[in-house]
């Protein structure tokens, strides 16, 4: 199974976020270790995207603590997250259609040689990266427009790997993908885990979650609604946690006593 190191790469302790009159996140707890894939699931509006954006530095948190490798850190802007080693692949992939794969991989962090773009080195590194991730695309020199949806997704994920991040956040990477392409992306997620990256995977697709995730963290109405080990949890249990079927007097009491223990 998964090797769990002592200090989690990322830990959220009682994180809250408000937007005006809306309490988007309330006392959310989350832990991710190196080499672990944590699926973040929840219904629409459960706060998945908000949570991811707080980690990525798009929305600074209002209350709570974010711990990075055991020590508290402040993530107030996207740059802070990137400097820590957090890479985020958003649902809309943010690739430039007219630029080739190499150009997109290195967009914003081009390699230079004597002030001039070093195309040769970039192409070599791009091929190397795609090979280690076993990503198959027709050529690294064709524009992104020529690639299929799944290939684009793999390129976007590969791009996030260039900075050697410790934590990769994937926002619905398999939405709108076909069967084979979904399989490609899931393969890639497993490869990220094998290479020791921590992965947060947002998904609506229970089959995907069961396939690659080690743990499932369920959000409901901006609160934690259980963290499950994928291996010994049924799909029905996860879904009932998402929909709130487990939200009854017993679970509430259990949650309260759990909090009191801390």
């Amino acid at each position: 199974m998964v090797h769990v190191t002592a200090a989690p790469v990322l830990a959220l302790r009682g994180v809250s976020k408000r937007f005006g009159a809306v309490q988007a996140l309330t006392d959310v707890e989350l832990e991710i270790h190196a080499g672990e894939v944590v699926a973040l699931v929840g219904d629409n509006g459960a706060g998945k995207s908000t949570l991811v954006k707080t980690i990525a530095g798009v929305h600074p948190i209002d209350d709570g603590v974010i711990e990075w490798e055991g020590r508290p850190v402040a993530i107030t802007k996207p740059h802070d997250a990137q400097n820590l080693g957090i890479a985020t692949v958003y649902q809309d992939l943010a690739l430039c259609d007219n630029i080739d794969v190499v150009g997109n991989l290195f967009l914003g962090r081009e390699l230079r040689r004597r002030g001039v773009l070093d195309e040769v080195e970039m192409e070599r590194r791009a091929r190397e990266l795609l090979t280690t991730l076993s990503i198959r695309i027709p050529s690294v020199r064709i524009p992104i427009a020529s690639l299929s949806g799944g290939q684009r997704q793999t390129v976007a994920i590969a791009r996030s790997m260039l900075g050697e991040p410790k934590l990769v956040i994937l926002d619905e990477p398999t939405a709108a993908l076909g069967v084979e392409q979904t399989a490609q992306v899931l393969d890639l997620v497993e490869r990220l885990r094998e290479r020791g990256h921590a992965v947060i995977l947002i998904s609506h697709n229970m089959a995907d979650v069961k396939a690659v995730a080690d743990k499932v963290a369920v959000l409901r109405l901006g609160r934690n609604n259980g963290v499950f080990n994928v291996a010994d949890t049924s799909q029905e249990e996860i879904i009932s946690a998402i929909t709130g079927a487990t939200d009854n007097a017993v679970t509430r009491r259990a949650a309260r006593t759990g909090e009191a223990r801390k």
């Binding site: 958003y90 809309d92 992939l93 943010a94 690739l95 430039c96 259609d97 007219n98 630029i99 080739d100 150009g103 967009l107 914003g108 962090r109 081009e110 230079r112 002030g115 001039v116 773009l117 195309e119 040769v120 080195e121 192409e123 070599r124 091929r127 795609l130 090979t131 076993s134 990503i135 198959r136 695309i137 027709p138 050529s139 690294v140 020199r141 064709i142 524009p143 427009a145 020529s146 690639l147």
Partner: protein
Amino acid sequence: MSTEHLADSNPEAPADAIPAVDPRLLVREEGFSGYLQEFGRKLKAGDLGSLPVVIGLVIIWSIFQGLNSNFLSAENLNNIAVTMVATGMMAVGIIFVLLLGEIDLSVGSVSGVSGAIVAVLAVTHGMNEWLAVLVAIASGAAIGAIHGFFFARIGAPAFAVTLSGLLFWSGFMLQILGSNGTINLDSEGVVGRLTTYYFSDVAAAYGLAAVAVGAYFAGAFFDARRREAAGVPSRPLAEILLRTGVLAVFAFGAAVVFNQYKGLPLAVLLFLVALVGTDFVLRRTGFGRKVFALGGSVEASRRAGINVTGVRIAVFALAGTFAAIGGLFWASKIAAANQSAGAGDLLMNVIAAAVIGGTSLFGGRGRTWNALLGVMVITSIQYGLALEGIATPIQYMITGAVLLATVVIDSVTRKTQKTAGRA
């Protein structure tokens, strides 16, 4: 971005490594037949490159030569070459704006302002002419930066900002020219000699052609060697030789034509320098990559950490700079700054030159070399019609029709490329 052909299989790759090449990829076959196949495939995919323009230019030249045997004379070709530089310089600037997917309608007026500034400072106020030229070019950059500021920082549409600029700067030019309206320039001065100076020694034109061909070959050859050493696909030597050969034919052909008249024109040399320089900036520097990225997806660029506002302002400043430079060539051509400078069909010609050359109005596709071919087409048509004694109204109508035809080709190409998955 320097190799257009698709990945070759790499024989040096270790056997256990999984190649990053999809088996479904149509890999180009070795040799000449592979080259032809690749070419045919590109044609079908709407990746026409410069081919339609070159064919168009050949057709235009044959028609006018048929109508008037003086059209292809060395003198007429020289005049076309020198005259096209003014429009061409402005087209170089507007290509940067078009690459962003935006438009600059003020370049005509800004070119007029530039000529007027030089004339007023150097002739009326007796300022050193070099200094006056620098002031004019700097003014162009500043005007462009102002447009860029309103577009990028304030968020007004570039179309509206530069349309206001069109009227404002043309009024500004009339204001500084004063009541008499025309200021004659010293035809032996800095600006005057821009279009009248020729390197009469035949060695100049041939030497330039030889240097260009040699530099192209050396660049391509050493790039291929470095790629080979790094184990990435490189251009085969045969292809480099073929490309160098084609370039040599055109370069020395042009040199022969120039030398049959007065020699290599200074204006053409400066235009080539501008083209080589801007092409380098666009394709080999981080700034150029950012311009293309913005033309592809603004949001993607922003997330990649690109300073969107800064790049946009810089691009409009570049357009203003090249508009000012073009204005100097216009002033030089007529040896005066007058009230009609930058008016008429100039703006249309500049945009037409850029688009005819193959720059897309939709952004993200084009090269500054497009300006050369495009402006040759536009200027050839103007000269051909003038030789036939066809009046301005008809010329306007023909230029308008040519611009429409190019925009149609651009739109259709874009559609074809979309279906072929290349845009």
